[in-house]
């Protein structure tokens, strides 16, 4: 077991770090304050391959491993949670399922533009009445001749209005399973601009305010028969497998937020003086920093391990990284929330003021405990594996 990053990974980290510091950090506060989707940053990231990290070179991607992708989301999220999730949702939730389940034609059609960042991806599973509970899905897809007709809506969709390619989960019929009639779920690729596909309200969020979170509405939206992703009736598996990968991305986002808040706070406590001393000289501060750094390191090891398990899965699909991804997300998200909250506390009154980055980081951290499976859902995944 080796905890040393390869020279390639070290250099990639330096790239992500330099890019985040120079291009992303200066905009983070404004992006949050004005709820502006950082389109210019996305274009710059596209130029350097950030949007096609795991995509094979034959499709114009960078051909890199999950660890490289994780470090990208981590470094971006250290300075801006919004930018981190844009890359994560695009890569894990749209690019990955097309890579995994797409037909050769679908891969050839979508991957080059997604990998180059010419097009951005999104994923629509959640509905007002259904998140992880697939049987609660209401959006329907009915085959009519050579076309599927979609009706229904999806909510809280990251990259919502800014994306071009959407993976949409819908009910395609009923099947009998263990004597019970269940909804048959399938996955589809839907392109922006398809008649009948419109956007509802933009969500006004607590954090990651620059990310574009919209409702997707399908009204007699006709898509070609070959827009079906994977086999008919396998949509739930596709969604759950996609979320396994997505959780590694969100875990990396949470890790980055925790690291970013901790770094900011370490600098702050060296400068902030109270009672004639830098507050970093007080044992309370020192012990809190020590505890936070230890937890962040633990989260990092879990997140990197999940990424490496995913690489193992890619080499040998008989293995699984589902539990590792759930553990990484559970730990990183809860640690991010705890660390960012403590960092605000160590900043005192200033931590509650918008101009200080930790205030934004604490708001951004909260969502990592909620989306792509709440912490409670991660516990379900982990315990189900323990008790099987």
């Amino acid at each position: 077991m080796d905890f040393t990053l390869s020279k390639e990974h070290e250099m990639a980290r330096q790239l992500f770090k330099d890019f985040a510091e120079n291009e992303v950090k200066p905009l983070a506060q404004e992006v949050d304050e004005t709820e502006t989707f950082p389109r210019g940053t996305v274009e710059k990231m596209a130029k350097y391959g950030f949007l096609g990290i795991p995509v094979p070179k034959e499709f114009g991607g960078q051909g890199c491993d999950p660890l490289t992708y994780v470090m990208c989301v981590e470094e971006l999220s250290k300075v801006c949670g919004t930018t981190g999730v844009i890359v994560s949702a695009h890569t894990s939730l749209c690019v990955d399922p097309i890579m995994t389940y797409g037909t050769p034609e679908q891969k050839a059609k979508y991957l080059p533009d997604l990998a180059s960042g010419k097009k951005l991806g999104a994923f629509g599973l959640t509905e007002p009445g259904a998140g992880t509970d697939a049987q609660g899905q209401q959006t329907k897809a009915v085959l009519d001749g050579d076309e599927w007709v979609l009706n229904g809506s999806k909510c809280f969709i990251t990259n919502g209005k800014e994306a071009d390619v959407y993976i949409v989960i819908a009910v395609t019929g009923k099947i009998e399973k263990r004597g019970k009639m269940m909804k048959e779920i399938s996955a589809f690729i839907v392109e922006k601009g398809t008649p009948g596909f419109t956007f509802g309200t933009k969500e006004n969020k607590m954090g990651i305010r620059g990310s574009s979170t919209y409702e997707l509405i399908f009204t007699d939206c006709r898509i070609p028969k070959d827009a079906l992703l994977g086999q008919k009736g396998k949509g739930f598996n596709i969604a759950m497998h996609t979320l396994d990968g997505g959780r590694i991305g969100i875990a990396a986002q949470a890790l980055g937020l925790a690291e970013g808040a901790l770094e900011t706070t370490i600098n702050y406590v060296k400068e902030r003086k109270q009672f004639g001393r830098a507050i970093g000289a007080f044992q309370n501060t020192q012990f809190q920093l020590a505890d936070m750094a230890t937890k962040v390191e633990a989260a990092k090891l879990l997140v990197y391990k999940a990424a490496m398990k995913k690489a193992e899965y890619q080499a040998n699909p008989k293995t699984s990284y589902s539990v590792e991804a759930a553990m990484a997300k559970l730990a990183a998200a809860e640690i991010a929330m705890e660390v960012t909250t403590k960092c605000v506390q160590l900043h005192g009154g200033y931590g509650y003021i918008r101009e200080y980055d930790v205030e934004r980081m604490m708001r951004d951290a909260k969502i990592t405990e909620i989306y792509e499976g709440t912490s409670e859902v991660q516990r379900m995944v982990i315990s189900a594996n323990l008790l099987k």
Binding site: K7, F50, K57
Partner: protein, 264 residues
């Protein structure tokens, strides 16, 4: 066309500076980056490559084996080939010995254009680029703030920066240009480019590979410049704070200080 870009691994000014007992820099003990002027020179070459298909960019550096890192960084940015000149007998070289060595390596390569940075942030001499040109008998244009290529006529048109103006110079290729960091905003490495760069073969040359180079002109022994003394910068004190009671008193204090320092 073929472009050679000379780059140097230099200590990151954000890290501490460390010296060997003989006064030369202890490069092994410091964080290292690609010299900023050289990076601008590389970017200029890569932009020529972007707009002139078929252009091949070779990056060349002289240094310790760990200088391979800057070659890999340059390849990850888009350079095609890397050449490392490394040999114990070449260590401790001043600008004369360095330029002699680099010219000896370049004599093995084909080129239309050589780009170097104006100067390195560790030595700040700005001598190596023009000296390489002298060794190779090439025209040199230093302090380039803009470079235009006319591939058909094999000429370059360069804006040479001065404090308050610039000169526009045209030169026949092959020639050598020294680049300023103000020349451009260097691109980042690409993600996949990094992993490719570590697969790329780096050509490594030693003393024996240098062409038409005399032993008397290389390494510490071949360096006419000797460092008499080197030291860290002494940090300035916190300064003096005064709180005069009136503007008149403040003016009189400042005039007194300026007179004392012979400024007025």
């Amino acid at each position: 066309m073929k472009i050679i870009v000379c780059i140097k691994q230099v200590p990151d000014t954000k890290g501490g500076v460390k010296f060997n007992p003989d006064g030369t820099l202890d490069r092994g003990a410091m964080l290292a980056i690609m010299n900023p002027d050289d990076k601008a020179g590389l970017e200029a070459a890569l932009r020529i490559k972007d707009t002139h298909p078929g252009t091949e960019v070779t990056v060349l550096t002289m240094g310790l084996p760990k200088a391979t890192d800057v070659l890999r960084e340059a390849i990850a940015m888009g350079a095609d080939k890397g050449v490392l000149i490394t040999d114990r007998v070449l260590g401790g070289a001043d600008t004369w010995a360095t330029s002699t060595t680099i010219a000896g390596a370049i004599r093995n390569l084909e080129y239309d254009l050589i780009i170097t940075g104006r100067q390195a942030i560790d030595g700040d001499t700005a001598q190596v680029g023009p000296q390489i040109a002298e060794h190779l008998g090439l025209p040199v244009i230093s302090y380039a703030q803009d470079i235009q290529i006319d591939e058909a006529n094999k000429t370059v048109t360069v804006q040479r920066q001065y404090d308050d103006r610039y000169h526009v110079l045209e030169a026949q290729m092959p020639c050598l240009i020294t680049a300023l960091s103000e020349l451009n905003e260097p691109r980042y490495m690409s993600v996949g480019g990094i992993f490719d760069a570590f697969q790329a073969e780096i050509t490594t040359w030693g003393r024996a590979d240098l062409k038409d180079v005399d032993d008397a002109n290389i390494g510490l022994a071949g360096s006419p410049t000797k460092i008499a003394k080197a030291s860290d910068k002494v940090r300035k004190g916190a300064g003096e704070k005064v709180a005069p009671d009136s503007p008149e008193e403040a003016v009189s204090y400042i005039v007194g200080k300026l007179t004392e320092k012979h400024v007025i």
